[in-house]
């Protein structure tokens, strides 16, 4: 996390969940900038199905925190039009899995108007959406799909893994003059009703601060294996890295934090050092993030790799409901461990 805005207490001692950190970022921006508003399904009195807006209605009232009908095409487009006219909407797509009912608004309008207008029209907005599985929500409620959004031009794609970044990236996203897809994994939110990674509670400075979009963070420095990952998988990777550290295997874990822009430098610098590349991705395996990382290395210098790279990802399979099946599909700590052992054997 880089603090570029206000001066911040160097070490934050207060801990928040990712959800609370995100909401704090939103609230501070709503306070600062009256053009910011939030809308989506159940973002009002419910406070967001995944607590992404808890307390905002009470604080800012129904004029600035709006429950919408289940009409994603209408309200995604509404966000775009309002942004064009100088507002800064934050709009929630409850689950990313629902993108198909409103994708035209997202990728043909939100994402392209700036270009089509030759730069004359700006579309500053944040599209907030929940991603990820692991709790048996089935094939239509468990996907990550960041590869889908990153493939289409004109959209920034931000994916925080922890509370500190979540707040900083949220503030940066709101201040960004472009449409930013902000994807939060349900498993890092620190929800009381879902198994959560312990790191979903973390230190969060009280002040406003920006975390730059497009810079990866080194979640764990290391010299033997580069693990490129993001979102909840960062934590599985860290867990696996800790485990193999006992055997003297020193993994570097890169938390991408955003796919667009993608921090090529961080990836290449690390792979140049380690020669071993593991991509851990909860999105589908093929034609997505893991391929892109491979291409970045392959088009820069394939001799950087001392061993074949390994992809630990969801298979190209709809996400199954039964726990046995879902956990066979997910990029778990155990699958990462096995991959580390294989790539260093």
């Amino acid at each position: 996390m880089t603090l570029t805005n206000k001066v911040v207490s160097p070490i934050a001692t207060r801990k928040l969940t990712t959800a609370k950190a995100m909401v704090e970022g939103i609230a501070q921006e709503m306070e600062r900038d009256p053009s910011v508003f939030m809308m989506g399904e159940d973002v009002g009195s419910y406070g967001g199905i995944f607590s992404s807006s808890t307390g905002l209605l009470e604080r800012f009232g129904p004029d600035r925190v709006l429950d919408t009908p289940i009409s994603e095409t209408a309200f995604m487009g509404l966000a775009t039009g309002a942004a064009v006219e100088g507002m800064r909407p934050i709009v929630e797509l409850m689950f990313v899995d629902f993108f198909g009912v409103c994708m035209d608004q997202i990728y043909n309008h939100m994402g392209k108007i700036h270009y089509e207008s030759g730069g004359n029209v700006k579309v500053p907005l944040v599209l907030l959406t929940a991603v990820g599985g692991g709790y048996s929500d089935g094939a239509q409620h468990s996907q990550c799909l960041w590869g889908t959004f990153a493939h289409l031009p004109g959209l920034k794609v931000v994916v925080p893994s922890n509370p500190t970044d979540a707040k900083g990236l949220m503030i940066s996203s709101i201040r960004d003059d472009n449409p930013v897809i902000f994807m939060f994994h349900k498993g890092v939110m620190g929800l009381p009703w879902m198994a959560k990674n312990p790191r979903s509670l973390g230190p969060v400075p009280e002040e406003e601060y920006e975390t730059p979009i497009g810079k990866a963070s080194i979640a764990r420095p290391g010299n033997d294996v580069t693990i490129v990952t993001l979102s909840l998988s960062v934590h599985h990777a860290l867990d696996a890295a800790e485990e193999v550290a006992k055997d003297g295997i020193d993994c570097e874990v890169i938390d991408l934090r955003s796919l667009v822009p993608l921090d090529r430098t961080a990836i290449l610098e690390s792979v140049a050092r380690t020669g071993r590349l593991l991509v851990v991705d909860e999105d589908y395996r093929s034609f997505g993030l893991s391929g892109e990382i491979a291409a970045i290395v392959g088009e820069t210098d394939p001799t950087l790799l001392k061993a074949p790279l390994i992809r630990v990802t969801m298979p190209d399979t709809p996400i199954p409901y039964a726990r046995t099946l879902e956990y066979a599909a997910l990029p778990t700590r155990d699958r990462i461990l096995a991959a580390i052992r294989q790539i260093t054997h």
């Binding site: 399904e41 159940d42 009002g44 009195s45 419910y46 199905i49 429950d67 919408t68 009908p69 289940i70 009409s71 994603e72 095409t73 899995d97 629902f98 198909g100 009912v101 692991g134 709790y135 048996s136 929500d137 089935g138 094939a139 239509q140 409620h141 009381p192 009703w193 879902m194 198994a195 298979p315 190209d316 399979t317 709809p318 199954p320 409901y321 039964a322 726990r323 046995t324 099946l325 956990y327 066979a328 599909a329």
Partner: protein, 324 residues
């Protein structure tokens, strides 16, 4: 409406409720101490239909297993009233290899080719495939009809509009049903649309529309009879909206802090209300009520036993069934 029909409606409502009570029990049994939605024998989101049984009972009474019905994320009452195999239904909910989807689907993704039952977790997006079933029936010269169900919240989704228009244009044998339970998760109907009845919208597609107030199973039955006969005889689609009631949270775990109609909610439970009416009419008595309850209980527990005794899918086969 004869006595047998009334009894049948009551029985199916009780069976559905009994099934969901068993889910409730087993769903919550093993999620503590720290309530975890992903834990337990039945993990994941759980949307119960308790209160909405009159819709299912009243509609499905007119269908056979040759007819298709498409439900939503809240599918149990419709599945049960349509007569799907209870064992396979329970097994799917428990994520077992013997379930309708061999554990791949879960409770929002129940597909039963034998009764043409299906559902979808995406709002209103069950309508378009239902059009296709109706289209196939029409082209295959079958007398079958399709029924497509959504909530009132879903009626504001684009798929609703496109589906009604196309069905009307091609005179498809389909009946659209809107379950208006006042709520779309936490959003009350009046915050999602300015209109008070989707029957009004039906006119905008040139099809008949009607709204049933008071969650009356007999009124649903009567309206469904007209609509389904119309569809079956080539008269094209209709729309029926039913003002029903969601007795529980949107899903299990929903604290319902937003909800301003909790008071007196139990008084709106359609099952005791219908029992009282049928008792009054001399069709039911305490003994029969007890027998219906215990029959239902027996069937449900057998299905749940079957489910729990069934094998979990093997992790090795996670990528089976992606392609045929």
């Amino acid at each position: 409406m004869d006595k047998q029909t009334k009894l049948g409606l009551y029985q199916i409502m009780v069976l559905s409720r009994t099934f969901e009570e068993a889910i409730l029990r087993d769903y919550h049994a093993d999620k503590t101490p720290n309530w975890d939605i992903g834990a337990g024998l039945i993990p994941g989101e759980m949307h119960l239909s308790a209160g909405q049984e009159p819709v299912a009972a009243g509609i499905c009474a007119h269908l056979t297993s040759d007819d298709a019905i498409t439900a939503t994320h809240r599918p149990h009452h419709l599945a049960i009233a349509h007569g799907v195999d209870l064992n396979k239904l329970a097994a799917e909910i428990f994520g077992r290899e013997t379930g309708f989807g061999r554990g791949r689907g879960g409770h929002m993704h129940i597909f039963d080719p034998a009764t043409h039952f299906s559902c979808s977790g995406i709002i209103a997006e069950g309508f378009p495939p239902a059009l296709g079933q109706a289209f196939a029936f029409q082209r295959q010269n079958k007398k079958a009809v399709a029924v497509a169900v959504t909530g009132e919240g879903a009626a504001n989704q684009g798929a609703f509009h496109e589906s009604l228009n196309l069905a009307s244009l091609w005179k498809l044998p389909i009946v659209f049903v809107v379950e208006d339970n006042d709520w779309a998760i936490s959003v009350p109907r009046h915050s999602s649309t300015a209109i008070s009845s989707n029957a009004q919208r039906a006119l905008g597609y040139g099809i008949p529309g009607t709204r049933v107030e008071d969650n009356s199973v007999e009124e649903v039955w009567a309206q469904a009879k007209v609509a389904i006969e119309r569809a079956r005889s080539g008269g094209g689609p209709s729309l029926i909206e039913v003002h029903t009631v969601r007795l529980l949270g949107h899903f299990e775990g929903d604290a319902q802090a937003y909800r301003d109609d909790l008071e007196g909610l139990n008084g709106r439970d359609p099952i005791p209300l219908y029992a009282a009416q049928l008792t009054q009419e001399g069709i039911l008595d305490a003994e029969l009520i007890g027998k219906i309850a215990s029959d239902a209980k027996g069937r449900v527990e057998r299905a749940f036993d079957f489910a729990k005794a069934s094998p979990m899918p093997s992790a090795d086969n996670v990528s089976q069934y992606v392609f045929a």
